[in-house]
Amino acid sequence: MKLLYAANLLFMCGGFLALWTRRENFLAGLAGCLGVLSGCICLLVPVAGIFFGSAGPVSSKMLPFSFDLLSAIFLLPVVMVAIPAALFSPCYLKGHDTNGKGGVYWFFFNMTLASMTLVTLTPNPLFFLVAWEMMGLMSFALVAFEYKSAETMRAARTYLYACHAGAAFLILLIVLLDGDPLTGIMGLTVFFLGLAGFGLKIGLFPLHVWLPEAHPAAPAPVSALMSGAMLNLGFYGLMRLVIQPSGPLEVYGWCFLTLGAIGALGGILFAAGQDNLKRLLAYSSIENMGVIALGLGLGFLGGADDDVIIASLGFSGAILHLFNHAVLKGGLFLCAGSVYKAADTLRMDRLGGLLKRMPWTGTLFTLFSLSISALPPFNGFLGEFLIYLAAFTGIVTATGPMFAASLFCILVLALTGGIAAGVFVKAVSAVFLGEPRSPEAADAKSEKPGMVIPIGIFAILCLAIALWSPAICQNASPLIRYFTDLPPEDINSQLITISGYLNKIGILSCAALVLFGLAALFRAFLSRGREERTEGTWDCGYAAPDARMEYTGSAFVQPTVDFFSFLLHSVKRVRKPEKLFPEEASLEVETPDGAGRFLWDPLFRLTGKISDKVRILQSGYLHLYILVMIVALILMLVWGFAFHPETSVPGTSEDNGYLEVQTAQAGGDRS
């Protein structure tokens, strides 16, 4: 407990020191960085203690703080993402941190971390709400860092709206929670309120609008932090406050399942349509949140009809995927950040061929992409594997709705996985492979070690997760025991078998690597002594191929996007080739957010229209104002005397007479 307080204090000290010394960028960066690092290390000790060791939950007497496994599960990603992000920041900030902006950045960065820790630490609803709002505010300031551009302004505004709307839901939620233990319809109301309030943070599908706006606008480390660590906290809030162990598990399960499915498919489809790298990553976060929700949904359904296997597979899969997503998305966003610094654009149709200039970043990005599209020898596969397995188990054992759920889950996962592979192949190839598609990409700067090392840390973390995955899955058992009423010993034995599977996968992955190595050796042996030339790309007889003939990212995903156009409604800007010898022709495809376009914008526009209508009240005519006053007065009188006769107890007739006089005066005044 003390260490946790210490961590918060360190964060705050770092933040304020940075703010204090914001005139000297170096000092500010140092202070902020040290604050983050020391704080994270302070956090790491108790978290690791309760996560891998056998430390029990602790709680403080005086303050409404307590720290248990659930907190640890959600605090660990925060730490894992925060350290490299902090290390990455100084390099990223170079050139941005004029006149003390660096110090401000560090201040808010630290504050965000502090509030995130507080969110995970307090079970008390009110404190939770406050910490939650602080988290939103501080991260809002970080999103608004590049305040000069109009997009950033829009993004920050959307994000703030989302935060405040979520807070409004949570206020209602907490007000309802204050009462006696909730059952039946009230319990459901609370659950849906919580789903709305926290779904805004998680980015469940119709509520995700702020996500693809805010992530491209924010600085890369911030997007890493938000996407890797902050989105998960929504799940934390749901588990901590909303979901009662005694509650209707199947309702929870079905909600998570449907929302997760929509989120996964919709997220990845919209990701396919994006041209901006960070937008693409943001949508893929939505997809992964959907996958986690699928896992949780299966877990709850399994708990609902007492199926130990499904429950434990679902929960552990969800947790594992949560960790994987945190680390991978952090790494990807950092890579995107260094790409941005190198070529200062994120439009994939203008990038390309960066692998030559930034080999390390490119390689790591490629590995992360393979991993996050859940391909086997990498850690990203493990989580989805467990969720798949849960679903297949459902196919074997369950019947009726549960069977349908499992089949549905399998199909969604399969389709998502397929498209995700395409999307990330597009990302890698459009950014790093082939020829540069624009001058700024052509003379991109080479990567800086200060940026590569933090990304490398993420890679190491991926490996660590892959190795420790059985241990991570073991930690699911208390959760399952808390939420469901399954026999603990079954859960534990089941988890042990699960870690057996994970070990098998580990062995096979090693086998794959070994075989790959052998193949490489064989290949080297073959090309021994043989001459090896380099030529231009084979261009099927066309003399001078150049970068303009290259396949762009948009072209790459065009078949998929067109196929799903009934969902995506992409906007195409075509300039068809004209004349006999066409000079200019161009095609730009962009996919603005569906929910934003077809749900929220019309809503807000409607409100705006109504407000324009209402303005007639304030038209500036004094006569009108006074008339309105008098009419309102008379209405009040009528209301008072015609509809509240019970109050005029003594002598009703008198009061009626009085009323009529007033109405008479009304007659006099209707001019």
């Binding site: 303050l63 204050d178 008072g640 008198e654």
Partner: protein, 496 residues
């Protein structure tokens, strides 16, 4: 808090509280031309008022028989005392700000449009300010409904000239509307007061003294009292800015200089709130539900109107004005909830006053820097006037009720104590208001800078005036967090 329970009835001090500012105002008026002296007098008036307030509180709550007679007319009960302290502190703050704000304002406004309308002479300005202060004190002090009426009308008269500090067509129009609408409203209140005497006819002592009335509260004639209450609500509601009687408010607040609009919205509205509050407490128990319902309806209407006018508002001072309407509406809803939520209403108003005064002062600075009140023309303030912008945004968060703002506490309690439908409605409307304000404020704070450079004279002048708003906001922040944590910890300890 029942009427007339504990009274700060120390007559000499009260008289001094009311008269000294008047005297100071007279001094300032006579000292025309000698700017230093004028400003010094302004400060003097403010400081003495604050000191006297302190003395009043230290003089303690006594029922000294000597003051029996005078306390029929002038005394402070708890509510009056709280608002007196608030008013006097805020006035002190505003006065200090004004002293530093006047000279650059004169320079800058001449720069912004050389051929523009002249400014009000500062001796008149200070005189009116001081008179305004004393009249507000009178409102809070008066224990007689007739006197109350006189005082409220007097506040209108004292504050009306302040509105056209920039002697221009627009400010004239605003002042005219303010005068006429408020006077008509107040005339309604006068009629209401008459009806009150009528309702009190069959009382042993037929006078307008609050104590006697509240003593015989239950014996007031219900029909007459209901009529009286409606008229009073219309009248003082006009002054308090409850929709649909609020129409003067945005014009006056937007046209008046920042300091004046700060006072108008930070103190004047509270005074009229006190007036309504006193009448509400007079209502016999049979009528109480009706009166509460009326307050509730008016409050909701004000909230809704404010929301719709804040969305897509193009003038940031009008936006602030409408947000005042909104918060007055919330206070009215608190009163309407009744049953011990009056203290919350008062708390809400105090928090609102601090934040709103700070915001209006900052708005004044921005106006000084940019010379325009339209949101679309102000841009990139973070780059040009960073200090003011930070204050501006902090104020936004506080007024929008984000923790740890005192308004967050009160609004949370409102939602938790109100019935569910009311809570939901209020939350939705608050969200709409917040969206409107955020979009406006962010448009101002972020984006490409407007025509203004950091090095411009006006910008530098505006940057100098950051102290008082910062102080006020800090106070609000600390008070809010204190409230929040004390409340939460209380809950926590209750539970465990």
């Amino acid at each position: 808090m029942t009427q007339g329970s504990f009274l700060f009835a120390d007559f000499p001090i009260i008289a001094a509280l009311i008269l000294l500012p008047l005297l100071a105002g007279l001094m300032a008026f006579c000292a025309r031309g000698r700017h230093r002296l004028v400003r010094f007098t302004l400060l003097l008036g403010a400081v003495t008022h604050t000191l006297l307030t302190g003395m009043l509180f230290f003089a303690g709550k006594d029922q000294d028989p000597i003051y029996k007679v005078t306390s029929q007319w002038l005394a402070f009960d708890d509510v009056g005392g709280i608002f007196l302290a608030l008013t006097s502190l805020l006035f002190l703050a505003v006065a200090i700000h004004t002293v530093f704000w006047l000279p650059p304002e004169e320079k800058v406004s001449s720069r912004h449009d050389p051929s523009g309308a002249p400014l009000m002479r500062d001796h008149t300005f200070s005189a009116c300010l001081l008179a305004f202060l004393s009249m507000m004190t009178l409102v809070l002090a008066s224990r007689n409904f007739g006197l109350l009426w006189v005082a409220v009308e007097a506040t209108t008269l004292a504050s009306a000239p302040l509105i056209c500090f920039h002697k221009g067509a627009h400010s004239l129009e605003a002042m005219w509307k303010y005068l006429l609408i408020c006077s008509v409203g107040i005339a309604l209140a006068l009629f209401g007061t008459l009806l009150l005497t009528l309702a009190a006819q069959n009382l042993p002592s037929s006078s307008l003294g609050m104590d006697s009335l509240s003593f015989h509260m239950e014996r007031l004639h219900p029909g007459w009292f209901k009529a009286a209450f409606i008229f009073i609500l219309a009248g003082y509601g006009t002054k308090m800015g409850l929709a649909p009687f609020h129409t003067w408010l945005p014009d006056a607040h937007s046209e008046a200089p920042g300091t004046v609009s700060a006072l108008l919205s930070g103190s004047l509205l509270n005074c009229s709130f006190v007036a309504i509050y006193r009448f509400l407490n007079l209502s016999p128990s049979a009528l109480r539900p009706f009166c509460d319902g009326l307050m509730l309806v008016l409050g909701l209407i004000s909230l809704a109107v404010a929301a719709f006018f804040i969305i897509r508002q193009t003038d940031y001072k009008r936006m602030l004005a409408y947000s005042s309407v909104e918060h007055m509406g919330i206070a009215a809803i608190f009163l309407g909830l009744g049953m011990g939520s009056e203290p919350l209403a008062i708390l809400h108003l105090c928090g609102h006053s601090f934040i709103k005064v700070a915001l209006f002062l900052v708005a004044g600075n921005i106006l000084m820097a940019y010379g325009t009140r339209s949101i679309s023309e102000v841009g990139g303030m973070l780059g040009t006037v960073p200090r003011n912008t930070v204050l501006w945004l902090i104020g936004l968060m506080l007024i929008g009720g984000m923790p740890p703002s005192p308004l967050f506490v009160t609004e949370f309690l409102l939602v938790s104590s109100a019935p569910l439908w009311l809570g939901v409605t209020v939350l939705v409307l608050l969200f709409a208001v917040f969206c409107g304000m955020v979009s406006g404020f962010l448009k101002m704070a972020m984006g490409k800078g407007g025509v203004l450079k950091t090095t411009d004279f006006s910008a530098r002048q505006a940057e100098r005036l950051w102290f008082i708003p910062a102080l006020l906001l800090l106070t609000a922040l600390l008070a809010g967090s204190y409230l929040l944590f004390s409340y939460e910890l209380m809950n926590f300890w209750m539970k465990s």
